[in-house]
């Protein structure tokens, strides 16, 4: 059962990556100039005739589009993403420079959002009808209606321009003198903006799940038989966490979209900012690479969530889908 389920999930992930790769390939084709130029960027001019022919052969430009896609995909899977127009460096090198920053921002914000929303959502959901309960419902709608980047602009205006205590943009470099603490200073604003605009809505979802779960029969049975409130809550939380995890999985793509914008606002040197920049400068190889890698990160995070679900939900494990 386990193997089958994981296999099914992996196939789904592969399909997603395939669609993303189509999208990427489409960019290469739609790009002005021939695909070889698109792939080798600014360096294409320096290639001589023989080399150009070799590239044409490698990318089977004389063959049908589907064959071309095949060869391109084979190159990509091998890690050859081509060369950036603007920088003249291999795309893969640039992507790997940017990856840690994106993962750092993603990891930190997701961590605080999950911890914060579990704390708030549990506090509100377990006490139906309380001030917490009613307050969170409203506050979450309000905070999720704030565009994150606009909040970012306000933050910059206040903390960077007026108070001058935090840097307005950049991502700091661990290698620099400031080291870790310097990096943290750069991280605070983008991370806070993302956390503040997201934590409420996730908390609210958990709150609603807990309220629904608390109305279940087994809760009454347990309570009537004098089972400790702590134990009952643990059970409720465990069951409520299943739809909650599902919700996180469902919203991760749009969450990623949001962080692309925040990265750009704060010039946080991550994949999102890189991708946006490559759109503006029409650096197609870089854009393709950025899209592929983002797709890969989303697929991997969804897979991680699936695995957690699998551990939490025994019905999945036992193959009981009632």
């Amino acid at each position: 059962m386990t193997v089958k389920w994981i296999g099914k999930r992996m196939v789904m992930g592969m399909i997603v990556l395939l669609i993303v790769s189509f999208l990427s390939f489409f960019i290469m084709h739609a790009a002005p100039g021939d695909p070889a130029a698109a792939f080798y960027g600014g360096n294409a001019q320096t290639l001589n005739a023989a080399e150009k022919e070799r590239i044409s052969r490698v990318f089977s430009l004389d063959r049908p589009v589907i064959a071309q896609y095949g060869t391109w995909l084979a190159e990509t899977v091998k890690g050859n993403f081509g060369v950036s127009y603007k920088e003249g460096r291999p795309v893969s090198t640039i992507l790997f420079e940017r990856l840690p920053n994106t993962l750092l921002l993603f990891g930190v914000t997701m961590f605080f959002i999950i911890v914060g929303s579990i704390w708030l959502g549990t506090a509100a959901g377990m006490k139906a009808g309380s001030v917490w309960d009613k307050g969170l419902s409203t506050v979450s709608i309000v905070t999720s209606s704030i565009p994150a980047f606009w909040l970012g602009i306000l933050f910059i205006s206040f903390f960077a321009v007026n108070l001058g205590i935090l840097p307005s943009s950049g991502s700091g470099d661990i290698g620099d003198e400031g080291g870790f603490w310097d990096k943290l200073r750069y991280l605070i604003m983008p991370a806070t903006v993302i956390i503040l605009t997201h934590v409420g809505i996730y908390a609210r979802f958990l709150q609603e799940s807990i309220k629904v779960e608390s109305r279940n029969y087994y809760v009454t049975v347990a309570r009537a038989n004098g089972i400790a409130e702590r134990v009952i809550r643990k059970g409720i939380l465990r069951n409520a966490s299943i739809p909650y995890l599902n919700y996180i999985g469902m919203t991760i793509p749009s969450f990623f979209g949001g962080s692309i914008i925040v990265e750009s606002l704060f010039s946080w040197a991550g994949l999102g900012q890189l991708t946006v920049k490559s759109v503006i400068t029409k650096d197609f190889p870089l854009l393709m690479g950025g899209i592929l890698l983002t797709g890969l990160i989303v697929v991997v995070s969804l897979f991680v969530i699936d695995l957690i679900m699998y551990v939490v939900n025994p019905r999945l494990r036992k193959g009981d889908v009632r």
């Binding site: 087994y218 009537a224 059970g235 939490v312």
Partner: protein, 249 residues
Amino acid sequence: MLKVDHLSIEIGGKQIVDKSSFFVPRGKITSIIGESGSGKSMTVSALLGILPPGAKATGKAVFNGKNLIAVSDKEMGEIRKAHLFTIFQDAANSFNSSVKMRHQLYEFSGRRTGDSSQQFQMKMKAILDELGLSAEIVEQYPFELSGGMLQRCMIACALYVEPDLLIADEPTSALDMVLQQEFIGLLKRLNEKQGTTILLITHDLDIVAEAAHEMIVMRQGEVVETGNVMTVFERPEHPYTRRLLESRF
């Protein structure tokens, strides 16, 4: 053992139970019988302090010298844990579906009596065995077991904790005929062997006739008749009870 005096329950201004009084003697099986909507389940909820939000109970229900209607939440929790055990109608939904039976059975039994995990395993294994349940079920999840098995798990816990008062709220209505018979047999055995006082809520006269010593007839929120089962069956006083008994045959 339990003396209920002028118990009234209302929800949003509507009278669900109206000044009902009855007595549950120690060591006997007492049955509350009534149709659905007669207020018998609400009465149980009031005794256990698990009324739905918006419901209000007045009157007295004295159990072991304490008025269950007026005690604090904390005290109620203590009483539920130390003296009572309640089996509900819907066994299939009485357990949390994503927690292994071992943990849930322990919370329902060993934890209440203060036994260690090892003591619990020994004792529970013997009880399960006696009830014809395999010891393997403790490693399973509720959704892997049938309703009948789960109801037997509940009674296993009742056997384990030996409560002063066992409340069974329509415990058999979700079971088929054979399992019903078996379950009633288990209740009787519990009463005979351990001397457990049982309050059995049902709408089925056959079950009353078979299991109970004393009976309380409820109708539209009121207690219309109480007394010894034999006496009531032979000489019903209230017209409703008479009609009830006639419709049985």
